[in-house]
Amino acid sequence: MPFRWTAFVLGLLLPGLGHFSVGERGRGGRILSGFLVLWLTGLLIGGLGSVRSWDPAYTNPSQGGKRNLWFIAQAGAGPIAFGFAALDAAFIRGSAPEDRIEITLHDQSTGSAYRHTAIGHNADFGTLFCALAGLMNFAVALDAGRRPVADRRGGER
């Protein structure tokens, strides 16, 4: 059976949509629910900074900035990940000067951060939850591409 690229891409656009498109509506709904559990819990734990494409936690943006490699995993959530990364860039990384505090980084250099930036386990788990949601969604989208179209005369699938 040829790989269904349409289902794969739809699955990346919105979790569960790939399975929905091949007639597996029950699975699609459950996939979306599982994704939301991981994604929203991650955002609740670490705040908007959990999904960040640039300047990961514990780095000093004034030293040139770095790519956040965790975002590669989070990008498996498709436009949702890029949308939240844009929100992070606008509200957390791009926060007003009066909302920023001076911090000492692990290399003893001085930097500044949004006063509500997550650190410690908040930053770790928030990032991890969203990264796992993205990775799982990529795997699930691959599965959608390999599934035969469901017989819609049957029961719930």
């Binding site: 699975r27 459950r30 996939i31 994704f35 734990i45 386990h121 908040n122 939850f129």
Partner: protein, 82 residues
């Protein structure tokens, strides 16, 4: 209206630093929800499978934690220093 003192989804959740272990069941539950949505043949058994996988993974973590505890607290101190 009394302010909450914490803005959900904008600010980090308070109290996580000391209670992070409670996040583990939620993490495993979310992964199990996505994994079992793809793997189960009969969706009628979905929630049973999700709960089963969550418990299995948690028990595996507990087993690993116990094994590491025994090694670090019981076996390593018996090794000759130097």
């Amino acid at each position: 209206m009394m302010p909450l003192g914490w803005t959900p989804f904008l600010e980090p959740l308070p109290g996580v630093q000391a209670n992070w272990l409670w996040l583990l069941p939620i993490l495993i539950f979310g992964i199990a929800m996505m994994y079992k949505a793809v793997r189960v043949g009969d969706l009628g058994r979905y929630w049973r499978e999700v709960v089963g996988m969550t418990i299995q993974v948690l028990l595996a973590f507990l087993g690993l934690a116990a094994a590491v505890f025994i090694v670090v607290q019981g076996i390593v101190p018996l090794l000759p220093a130097g």
